[in-house]
């Protein structure tokens, strides 16, 4: 079943059963929320465990001799030193030092598995195929991707798949569920402990139902996925990360290991290395920061930021924003000039009114990973 030729993903029937409100997203029909609603789904994930269908994301296998070295020509992270059974956050960069996509790279022994954004997966596939000559690069078309997130995720999943509770944050492994090989990583996009589970499409509904059969597990839509990742300070590709923004401006310098930086044994050698390493060495001109609107009005993506209430020209922009259910207040992230201090008060233009917004540290919600 070629998933990317379909508008519906393997779990479409299940979304319907749980009252999913379906919207078009990344070329698929995806649930933005279920009957509980975004707020309840968000809080349930922070308190217990939430199940997300993220099958729209791309799962790309890279296999062949020298694949790790070759991947380093496309990404500033160290792939060569990524041990088998481990996963790492990565970026594909553009020739001008911007971000082409952000992704996870897992070393699964005889291949690397790349999990990329749904809206970018076809472009990523082309970029990888062109950039990795002689190496097998293929999009998996017969696997769904689920995420089980929240403080009870490990306990719930371990009952179905014994052994997963022993994994540490960013471990990956293959497990069996009733004969179906599950590719599991202990990771996620919510700021909670949890797992991402690649499951054969044919077993996806049965596996999801088994998880949802647990009283502590609720299905969670994309709406809460967005508010959870926003509270966790995680950037969203297409909003907070774009081809115009360097990884350093985005505050992702931590993802670039020493060995790939200036003076490292394998420094540079990735697209846009000049700008990215210069940003690392000299500091960028703008930076991604957290933002806390000082009134109740949320500030959403696109709100321009001004230094004062009557300044003529904006100095920054909101790239993601909304309401943080666990914070109980509006929160946002955006770009401001480098050196803008935490707690500095700027003004966002909301429907023609300049409203105060304070620069804040990210994340808003401290992650609870099991390291």
């Amino acid at each position: 079943m070629p998933l990317d030729d379909l508008n519906d993903l393997p779990l479409a029937a299940l979304h319907q059963e749980f009252g999913g409100k379906m919207v078009p997203f990344a070329g698929y029909s995806m649930p933005v929320q279920y009957t509980a609603g975004v707020m309840a789904e968000h809080l349930h994930t922070r308190g217990k465990a939430g199940l997300f269908d993220v099958s729209h994301m791309g799962q790309i296998v890279v296999r062949g001799p020298g694949a790790a070295e070759a991947l380093e020509c496309l990404t500033p992270i160290s792939v060569v030193e990524l041990p088998e059974g481990r996963q790492r956050y990565a970026l594909l960069t553009t020739d001008t030092g911007g971000v082409a996509d952000d992704l996870m790279v897992a070393n699964r022994g005889d291949h690397h598995l790349l999990v990329v954004n749904g809206a970018m997966k076809h472009a990523d596939l082309r970029l990888l195929q062109a950039g990795l000559p002689g190496i097998e690069v293929s999009m998996l078309r017969d696997r769904a991707l689920l995420a089980l997130q929240g403080p009870l995720a490990a306990e719930v999943l371990d009952r179905l798949v014994p052994g997963v509770a022993e994994m540490r944050f960013m471990d990956v492994g293959t497990f069996d569920w009733l004969g179906a090989p599950l590719w599991i990583s202990r990771s996620g996009y919510t700021g909670e402990d949890g797992f991402e589970i690649s499951v054969p499409a044919a077993a996806a509904i049965g596996f999801a139902q088994a998880l949802l059969g647990h009283a502590d597990v609720l299905p969670i839509g994309l709406g809460a996925r967005d508010s959870l990742r926003l509270e966790a300070g995680m950037p969203l590709y297409g909003q907070d990360l774009t081809p115009d923004i360097s990884p350093i401006e985005a505050g992702l310098g931590w993802a670039i290991q020493k060995v790939r930086r200036t003076g490292g044994a394998r420094a540079g050698g990735f697209p846009g290395a000049d700008r990215i390493l210069a940003d690392l060495d000299n500091g960028p001109s703008r930076q991604r920061v957290g933002l806390r609107p000082q009134t109740r009005a949320p500030m959403r993506a696109g709100v321009p930021l001004y230094a004062t209430e009557d300044a003529a020209e904006p100095i920054g922009i909101v790239t993601s924003g909304g309401f943080g259910p666990s914070i109980g207040a509006p929160i946002a992230m955006g770009y401001v000039p480098a050196g803008t201090s935490t707690d500095a008060v700027l003004y966002g233009d909301v429907r023609g009114k300049r409203l105060p917004v304070a620069v804040a540290d990210l994340p808003f919600h401290q992650p609870r990973y099991v390291r």
């Binding site: 609603g37 975004v38 709406g223 109740r296 009005a297 949320p298 309401f323 429907r351």
Partner: protein, 119 residues
């Protein structure tokens, strides 16, 4: 009770009309997190956007259903926007007087509104 195609309900008592949004609209909006109400005494024209509602998902507006003047707003709603999701029929937004009361005759009644939203 009268209803508009913008999913507002209007409850007229004497000269004063109380306005809110329908349960159908509240459900569609999702969890409401912010409401901006108009100033009392403001003269409004029909169709003018006078209330901002932000839910966890998006921002939307309520427009004035009639020409007239705002006489009272529900400050409790600005304090606790989630009241709209708890009971949309009770969570009124504002009260107004109108210069065109006859326009209400052309609005939908409850059955008409139910048919309009396909319930």
């Amino acid at each position: 009770m009268k209803y508009t195609e913008e999913h507002e309900w209007l409850d007229a008592k004497d000269e004063v009309i109380t306005i809110g949004i329908t349960e159908h609209a509240a459900t569609q909006l999702g969890d409401v997190v912010f409401i901006e109400l108009p100033d009392v005494g403001r003269e409004v024209t029909k169709g003018e956007e006078i209330v901002v509602i932000e839910s966890v998902k998006a921002a939307s507006d309520i427009s004035a259903p009639l020409d007239g003047e705002i006489t009272e707003v529900n400050e409790a709603l600005a304090e606790t926007p989630g009241l709209v999701n708890e009971d949309a029929e009770a969570a009124w937004f504002f009260r107004m007087t109108t210069t065109t009361p006859e326009e209400m005759d052309g609005m939908m009644d409850e059955d008409g509104y139910k048919e309009f939203v396909g319930e």
